[in-house]
């Protein structure tokens, strides 16, 4: 018996484990990207032992890809040479690592996946354990196939009610970040559940584990159910690899339970400079913005682009605002092209870029100048993240981003949504 993380770890350990225990577990996949792989290669070479299982290693080019400068190009070159030398089978450049890991079927319920990227927590949306590590541990895991974990205590976030039109999973998660604070989940597993989560489609569920990183969590988990299995079977190449396990909490003992009724929530904004500086949109509306960025592993899935396209169809964005759309993956980009969303976005005056991490890492694809303010669908608003340390980042839903793109000021999406529905 245990919380969801205790049950996932117990299954892997082959014995019942409890919070506080230290485990050495086999990992299913070891993820890294163009930014973090070079240091992992160094650790690997320093240890001087062979790779245990090449199939477990997945390397993505997404952070600074295509290379925006010579340093990034050197990283890519170094990684490609390593992949060639070690004959690694999984080198991908089809979008943001976390989205690609999920949509290409690498992440299945109960899996243990470590990544040299803090948002590896995202895999919890599939009922898997995903967590971010430093590059050294990634190099170690290439050799050992294992990783040590302390079984964490669990905070259960119980979400009830139905959100109002114009209020999305992003708004709910930003609200939770405000309630728990940026270190409210440190060392903890944050387990999201309740009728609100049960009724959410996969693309909305992903936001909760993804942003559990922003509250310091070791992992963010949603138990696998029909939604998860249907997604795996119908949307990913994992079809037929099942049967997939449905691991559930069993008589869990939670350190804390946070209950949130989403039915009265209005759109939320995480304001400069901290993710827990959360306000109802109504308190910050009217603030000028210089850039609207719709992208990242948090909110650039097909359904997000669809919301934005529906709101911008036949309209023009404010010509003085750079409105940049970066689909999370090539697969999403292609579907959006096929279904006419890209035409709508371009007609409205958006700049659509190739898939990847884009402007979120502040090295290319929409860098901010001193004194500028961006409204984005990202998960993180650290000072200087998108460029100048004198710029400001506000986080919100794709619908809020679309409404803001039209006016050039932070704008409530609900009025616009009423007119088009």
């Amino acid at each position: 018996m245990g919380t969801l993380i205790e049950e996932i770890f117990s299954r892997k350990a082959g014995k019942q484990v409890q919070a506080g225990e230290i485990l050495l577990l086999d990992v299913d996949y070891i993820m890294s990207h163009d930014n973090t792989t070079p240091l992992a290669i160094k650790a690997f070479r320093d240890i001087g032992k062979p790779i245990l299982d090449k199939n477990k290693i997945v390397i993505h080019f997404d952070h600074a890809y295509p290379a925006p400068n010579v340093l990034a190009a050197e990283n890519h070159k170094k990684i490609i040479e390593f992949v060639k030398e070690q004959e690694l089978p999984h080198l991908l450049h089809q979008g943001v690592c976390h989205q690609v890991m999920i949509e290409e079927g690498y992440i299945t319920p109960g899996a243990i996946v470590i990544g040299a990227d803090s948002h590896s927590n995202t895999y919890g949306a599939m009922g898997a354990f995903g967590t971010g590590l430093g590059s050294t541990e990634i190099g170690v895991a290439w050799i050992t196939g294992k990783c040590w974990f302390k079984v964490p205590e669990t905070i259960r976030v119980e979400l009830s009610g139905q959100s109002q039109p114009g209020v999305y999973a992003k708004d709910v998660m930003i609200h939770i970040a405000g309630l728990l604070g940026m270190d409210g989940g440190t060392y903890r597993s944050v387990e999201f559940g309740g009728e609100y989560i049960d009724n959410l489609p996969m693309h909305e569920r992903i936001i909760f584990p993804n942003m559990s990183t922003e509250i310091g969590a070791k992992c963010g988990l949603i138990a696998a159910d029909d939604v998860t299995i249907n997604y795996l079977e119908n949307e990913t190449p994992a079809k037929g690899k099942g049967p997939f396990e449905r691991i559930l909490p069993v008589n869990p003992r939670y350190e804390r339970v946070l209950e949130v009724d989403v039915s009265t929530l209005v759109p939320q904004v995480a304001c400069h400079p901290d993710v827990d500086n959360v306000k109802p949109l109504t308190e910050v509306q009217g603030l000028d913005v210089h850039e609207v960025y719709i992208g990242t592993c948090t909110n650039a899935r097909y359904e997000d682009l669809e919301i934005v396209a529906n709101m911008l169809k036949g309209k023009k964005v404010n010509p003085l605002v750079r409105v940049i759309v970066t689909p999370a993956s090539d697969r999403i980009y292609r579907k959006a092209l096929t279904n006419g969303l890209i035409d709508i976005l371009m007609d409205a005056g958006c700049t659509v870029t190739g898939s990847g991490c884009g402007a979120c890492i502040g090295r290319h694809g929409g860098i901010l100048a001193p004194g500028e303010r961006a409204l984005t669908t990202m998960n993180r608003n650290f000072i200087g993240r998108m460029g100048s340390p004198l710029s400001e980042i506000y986080l919100a839903s794709p619908a809020t981003a679309a409404a803001t793109a039209l006016t050039g000021k932070i704008t409530d999406p609900r009025e616009l949504l009423e007119t088009i529905s």
């Binding site: 230290i22 050495l24 973090t36 240091l39 160094k42 650790a43 320093d46 240890i47 001087g48 032992k49 040299a116 990227d117 803090s118 971010g132 590590l133 430093g134 590059s135 050294t136 541990e137 190099g139 170690v140 050799i143 050992t144 294992k146 040590w148 940026m182 270190d183 440190t186 060392y187 310091g216 070791k218 650290f382 200087g384």
Partner: protein
């Protein structure tokens, strides 16, 4: 015995070592600029064996390892804080930088106090005011990594299973 250097809450990895210095992973090079914006005198005057006393959520921010490497390069004996950001916690352990969680010590120690730390037992003794604090002792496997000087050195002579053996 070492001198205490105190730092505030939510000390992030960019405050420990600003991103512009992360062009190297050489510990001694990084140590030259560690805490350069929040406490520039640290890198200039600290002595090997001094102790860092941080606030809660020490090391939050990026997963980059430059921050703990820079502190280790400065030859601080350990970091004492009420809590650490979790990736920093792991990175510190894996590169062989001892870290102790002890809110009582942090609340009581002032900058410049002479501090004795027994890493194996978690005992912290403040020679300046005579107070003793008990941190949670480091698990055996963490001490094994620290004794080896980090996980890389540990694995040169051991198998990963030896950690928990």
């Amino acid at each position: 015995m070492g001198k205490a250097w105190t730092f505030g809450e939510n000390m992030n990895t960019d405050e420990i070592i600003p991103g512009r210095y992360n062009i190297t992973i050489d510990p001694l090079e990084l140590a030259k600029n560690v805490f350069c914006e929040v406490k520039p005198e640290y890198a200039k005057t600290m002595q090997p064996g001094d102790v860092i006393v941080g606030g809660q959520n020490f090391g939050c921010g990026s997963s980059r390892e430059h921050a703990p490497i820079a502190i280790k390069g400065s030859q601080a004996k350990c970091i004492i804080a009420p809590s650490f950001a979790r990736i920093f916690f792991r990175n510190a352990i894996n590169i062989g930088l001892p870290i102790l969680e002890c809110p009582e010590a942090v609340a009581d120690i002032t900058e410049g106090d002479d501090i004795d730390v027994n890493l194996a037992t978690g005992e912290i003794f403040n020679r300046t005011n005579g107070h003793q604090y008990q941190a949670q002792a480091l698990p055996d496997f963490v001490l094994k990594i620290a004794d080896a000087g980090g996980i890389i050195n540990f694995l040169k002579t051991h198998e990963i299973q030896d950690l928990l053996a």
